[in-house]
């Protein structure tokens, strides 16, 4: 990005601290966390489990308020649950009592759009993720990969600014995961949505991201940021290049440092 153009970040986290009160006393999950996400960017956050990456996503979604610092969406602090940041959950979170069509039409329906408009919009997004013919199926009748596609189209039908992805493919088998990664990239290319994606898979982060953030162990802060210059599309041929492996080795080193460090801290206790 050239320095002459100043683009306002879609998401900006400034010195964010998040402390939970637990039975054992206060637990600081994030401390001095800073991050900016530009419009149309795909940012992946990797880090050891418990480093606060999900907590950060919940702050952006407005499910939590920071204990310190601020999280801004288009320059304004997030003060309530934020429908402009559509969340995709690891567990799909589809409503089991609604058909695929009803699930996808849920957002528009809440806004009071006409029944017909809701259906049309839902059909469009269902077809976008390749689920034509499954409109009247219930989620339980679908495979995990198909359910996550429904969840994706449900969020897209609500037309958010940002897609928040909380390890959405972690529960899927490796093949399905690869397919869905490519589908997500396609949708993002078509719609120009900004994506904040959390994962513990370095491969996944390297395949998806424009920028890759490595978090430190708890309390989480930004440990390193990589501009991911791997060529797209990042199919298998890219995944075996030297550049890919070099990046992976470097990131793995950083993550490992944190995991080992936090394990030592636990043992000392």
């Amino acid at each position: 990005m050239s320095e002459a153009v100043t683009v306002r970040p879609v998401i900006a986290a400034r010195h964010v601290t998040m402390t939970f009160t637990t039975r054992k006393g206060p637990l600081t999950v994030l401390e001095g966390f800073d991050l900016q996400v530009q419009p149309g960017e795909v940012v992946c956050i990797v880090g050891a489990s418990g480093c606060g990456k999900s907590t950060f996503l919940n702050l952006v979604a407005g499910f939590l308020r920071p204990s310190g610092g601020e999280v801004l969406l288009e320059g304004r602090p997030i003060s309530r649950v934020e429908p402009r940041c559509g969340m995709i959950f690891q567990s799909y979170a589809l409503f089991p009592w609604m058909t695929v069509l009803e699930n996808v039409a849920f957002g528009p329906r809440l806004k009071g759009a006409s029944r017909r408009a809701c259906r049309e919009r839902a059909r469009h997004w269902i077809s976008m993720v390749g689920l034509d013919g499954f409109e009247h199926a219930y989620p339980e009748e679908l495979s995990g990969g198909m359910q996550q596609r429904v969840a994706l189209s449900r969020v897209l039908a609500n037309d958010p600014e940002v897609l928040l992805c909380d390890e959405p493919f972690a529960a899927l088998d490796a093949m399905t995961r690869q397919v869905l990664q490519q589908e997500l990239l396609q949708v993002v290319a078509d719609t120009g949505k900004t994506v904040l994606f959390i994962t513990h898979s370095i491969d996944e982060a390297l395949i998806l991201s424009d920028r890759l953030v490595v978090m430190s162990a708890r309390p989480g802060r930004v440990k390193a940021v990589y501009c991911n210059d791997l060529p797209r599309p990042r199919g298998m041929d890219v995944q075996i290049t030297d550049r890919f492996l070099e990046l992976k080795r470097g990131i793995w080193g950083l993550v490992q440092e944190e995991v080992v460090g936090s394990l030592r801290a636990l043992q000392r206790r």
Binding site: A61, F63, V81, E82, P83, C85, G86, M87, F89, S91, A93, F95, P96, W97, M98, F106, G107, L110, K111, Y138, E140, R154, V155, N158
Partner: protein, 261 residues
């Protein structure tokens, strides 16, 4: 068909065989004089007695079944009408839950029978007294089942709905209610069986109609055949109501069809 499951017909056949052996054995021990028919009349004479009570000009059996069923369903409907909304409220509001839990804990362990003295003093042996017994015997259970069902609604679904822009009221309408419905219904099914024991007890103590009354008067007259007819009628009626309730569930929970659970 593999391992520990049976086909539909195999299952039905084995069930029929079990029933025939049981009833046949019963008939045999009585006919052979091993058990006095006065204490345990054989199935053949129970059946004859049943036909006798179900036919004739007054057909008391039908009248009794209708009376008992009306009492059960009225009392049950009342406790569902009060218990379900209140249970939803308790499930959704920690404050309401904290305020009402002690009262529920005091009322819930009381058997329906223990309400009979007070209810008779207050209401006599009218129909209202039967409704009250059923209500007091089942209301607290409805409340507990509903509260539990509401608490067990998946929090991620609530988060997802909020994320898609649902207001608190919309979350209740579109997520909490349908999410809690399956567990509320299976709770109500258990409570319906409890309601039957309530009404039979109430009828034995003070009533002039109903299956409980019929069984109790038969005992006074040492009419063991009629006692068994009454008991059998309870079984059949409860079974039929259960089938009815299941089809209601099937109708209300279309997304749970065909999974066999």
């Amino acid at each position: 068909m593999s391992g520990n499951t049976l086909g539909l017909w195999q299952g039905l056949m084995l069930g029929a065989v079990g029933l025939i052996v049981f009833v046949g054995g019963w008939e045999l021990v009585v006919q052979l004089g091993m058990i006095d028919a006065f204490f345990l009349p054989p199935p053949s004479s129970v059946l004859a007695r049943m036909l006798d009570l179900a036919s004739g000009p007054d057909a008391v059996l039908w009248h009794d079944i209708r009376m008992s069923a009306t009492r059960v369903l009225t009392g049950f409907a009342l406790s569902a009408l009060v218990g379900v909304p209140l249970g939803l409220l308790m499930g959704m509001s920690p404050a309401v839950r904290a305020a009402l839990s002690p009262i529920v804990s005091i009322i819930r362990p009381l058997p329906a029978l223990s309400w009979i003295p007070l209810s008779m003093l207050w209401l006599g042996i009218d129909e209202q007294q039967k409704y009250a017994i059923v209500f007091m015997g089942s209301f607290a259970s409805v409340l507990v089942y509903t509260t539990d069902a509401t608490l067990r609604v998946d929090q991620t679904l609530i988060a997802a709905a909020r994320n898609l822009g649902a207001s608190r009221l919309q979350v209740i309408r579109f997520v909490m209610l349908p999410g809690a419905l399956p567990n509320i219904l299976s709770g109500l099914k258990v409570v319906l069986a409890i309601a039957w024991t309530c009404v039979i007890s109430a009828e034995m103590v003070g009533a002039n109609s109903g299956l409980g009354f019929r069984i109790w008067t038969a005992k006074e007259w040492s009419d063991t055949g009629q006692v068994l007819v009454g008991m059998l009628s309870i079984s059949i009626t409860v079974l039929l109501l259960d089938i009815l309730f299941r089809s209601l569930e099937h109708l209300l929970l279309p997304w749970q069809r065909g999974d066999g659970t």
